[in-house]
């Protein structure tokens, strides 16, 4: 670099370097978008997002496990005693009234994935027990013993008939 170059020129050069770097950086980031997005669920996976279930075969006290988005969903036909026990408390770790977790008190629909590490809890006694790390849930799918931080998720669903529900759409 020669002596007679003025500071104004270096300023301009620095600006050009920064501008080029910024534009190049934005370009690289934009080029990453399709690659990152390609790892998200594809259209056929998204198409599985809705499951229709016929409830007529589930007797009171019975449980059916159906697959929704590849995840197990527990559908419980609760007995009056189970409903009574569930409405009596609000849960301990993640308090929530039973009425907010069901649309009809005799039908409980919850995603059967432990909110701790994603294992499938087993139906044991009243409620469920997860054998991976010992979490327990009551008959409303609310966590009663950790390490799980949250209640079993209630998926979006709605009744299309008295004994038919669609899971995946509220």
């Amino acid at each position: 670099m020669t002596e007679n170059e003025s500071p104004a020129n270096t300023g301009r050069r620095n600006f050009l370097i920064k501008a080029t770097t910024a534009v190049g950086g934005v370009g690289v980031a934009a080029a990453c978008v399709p690659f990152v997005a390609s790892m998200n669920p594809s259209s056929d996976v998204l198409a599985k997002a809705v499951t229709e279930v016929d409830l007529s075969g589930i007797t009171p006290g019975g449980v059916r496990t159906v697959a929704w988005q590849g995840k197990p969903v527990f559908i419980v036909h609760r007995t009056p005693e189970e409903i009574q026990a569930s409405t009596a408390t609000n849960g301990v770790i993640d308090p929530e009234p039973d009425s907010q977790r069901v649309q009809k008190p005799e039908w409980l629909v919850v995603v059967g994935v432990c909110t701790h590490m994603g294992c499938v809890p087993n139906k044991e006694g009243p409620g469920w027990t997860c054998h991976c790390h010992g979490s327990q849930y009551d008959d409303s799918g609310r966590v009663t013993r950790g390490p799980a931080p949250k209640n079993l998720e209630v998926p979006p669903y709605h009744f299309v008939a008295d004994n038919k529900i669609i899971i995946g759409k509220a």
């Binding site: 990152v36 790892m39 998200n40 669920p41 594809s42 996976v45 496990t65 697959a67 988005q69 590849g70 995840k71 197990p72 701790h116 590490m117 994603g118 294992c119 499938v120 809890p121 087993n122 997860c130 054998h131 991976c132 790390h133 010992g134 950790g146 390490p147 931080p149």
Partner: protein, 419 residues
């Protein structure tokens, strides 16, 4: 004729000088014990894994409806398929075994200290790459343990603030571990070993810059170095012989001892096995994850437990050279740490009960304590050792080290004044 060919190459590529500089004449401390064999062994296992893996990939199908059966196909129908698979599965355990010994040696002899911090940190990066590769490879047989192991570990990313759920779905490419997950894990499981090879080259460049440490912890004068070849090529090969004997015993006689029986059941997304355990080499870290009664806390603790090793150059400020060799308290600490790892491994293996939970929590505290107390213990220990009187050779070494540090500082200051 061969001489002429080499001469022709040497005019165009530094073949002879490279081999001479990095291998045949590479100066190596004469007092290296067999604990210094394990870096070489790790390189051999890496090559074994790459070769067996490539040949397995010729017969494997990455598709959830085919992959479990393709493993049976490899085991029953492919010529020597059983051998390739058992070598690869046993090789994963062997890899972790030699790496753990390699790390324990570095910790014991204080080889992570100046000037070898970068060497240690590249090694830490290699450990993470190895763990990621092993984890992704474990999904490929699509057994129950594969499936639920991958489910639990990808679920850990739920601890990410704000985007937790989206990141888990992005990693899996599905709402659960599925076809998309299997194919990407296979692609990355094939890619990562080559990244590891690149990282090993960086590790070796760092090693050949600072040279090997040695059991005395004292940087030896030039007269105490001997050429790598033939002295250490033969020592490494002898160690390799012993390694291959043990490895072969596992491959030919105990191949199933390292494979969880539950992984011989095809993956079932609707049913978690009652007792899920990771592979033995992840057990201590898994125990730490389970010991924290909170998802985010557990994930952070587990991540930190793997990364704690990287902090060693900062934590250990003792000026006494030679690692545990001249430091009795550090030596006790080292063995207690190994014991703690075994306790954590046991806790990680057993199903969670209140009792094992308590043991796990105490062992987790001991794990982090044995790192975080090092700065204080090493200072007290240094003072005590100096008062008790050090061997003259060690004092001379400490003085010369202090002098070089002082000189470096002076040089730095002088350069600062000039600028």
């Amino acid at each position: 004729m061969p001489g002429r060919i080499i001469k022709w190459i040497d005019q165009r590529f530094p073949l002879t000088s490279f081999v001479k500089h990095e291998l045949t004449d590479y100066p190596t401390p004469r007092n290296l014990s067999y604990w210094w064999n394990f870096g070489f062994l790790a390189g051999v296992v890496l090559m074994l894994q790459v070769v067996t893996g490539i040949f397995l990939a010729m017969h494997y199908r990455a598709d959830i409806s085919l992959s479990f059966d393709s493993i049976q196909h490899i085991m029953r129908e492919v010529n020597y398929g059983w051998l390739l698979r058992y070598m690869h599965a046993t090789g994963a355990s062997a890899f972790f075994f030699v790496i753990f010994v390699h790390m324990a040696r570095t910790l014991y002899y204080g080889s992570y200290r100046a000037p070898r911090e970068l060497l240690w940190w590249t090694g830490q990066g290699l450990l993470l790459l190895l763990m990621a590769t092993a984890f992704m490879g474990y999904l490929l047989p699509w057994g129950q343990m594969s499936y639920w192991g991958a489910t639990v570990i990808t679920n850990l990313f739920q601890a990410t603030p704000f985007f937790g759920d989206q990141i888990v779905i992005w990693l899996r490419g599905d709402y659960t571990v599925g076809d998309a997950t299997l194919t990407r894990f296979f692609a990355l499981h094939y890619l990562f070993p080559f990244i590891i090879i690149g990282a090993v080259v960086i590790h070796l460049v760092a090693l050949h810059t600072v040279k090997s440490s040695n059991p005395s912890g004292i940087d030896l004068a030039a007269k105490d170095n001997i050429p790598f070849h033939p002295y250490f090529t033969i020592k490494d090969l002898y160690g390799l012989g012993w390694f291959l004997i043990v490895y072969s015993v596992f491959v030919f006689f105990l191949p199933d001892s390292l494979i969880e029986p539950a992984n011989n059941i095809p993956a079932n997304p609707m049913q978690t096995p009652n007792h899920i355990v990771p592979e033995w080499y992840f057990l201590p870290f898994y125990a730490i994850l389970r010991s924290v009664p909170n998802l985010v806390g557990g994930v952070v603790a587990m991540g930190l437990s793997v990364m704690m090793f990287a902090f060693m150059p900062f934590l250990d400020r003792s000026r006494i050279p030679g690692g545990a060799h001249y430091r009795p308290i550090f030596k006790i600490q080292f063995y207690l740490f190994l014991l703690d790892m075994l306790v954590l491994g046991y806790v990680g293996y057993t199903p969670p009960t209140n009792q094992t939970l308590l043991i796990g929590q105490i062992a987790t505290l001991c794990y982090f304590g044995s790192f975080l107390l090092i700065p204080f213990i090493s200072r007290i220990e240094e003072r005590w050792l100096v008062r008790r009187g050090l061997p003259p050779a060690v004092i001379a070494l400490m003085e010369s080290e202090a002098l070089t540090i002082e000189q470096r500082r002076l040089k730095h200051r002088r350069r600062g004044e000039q600028a």
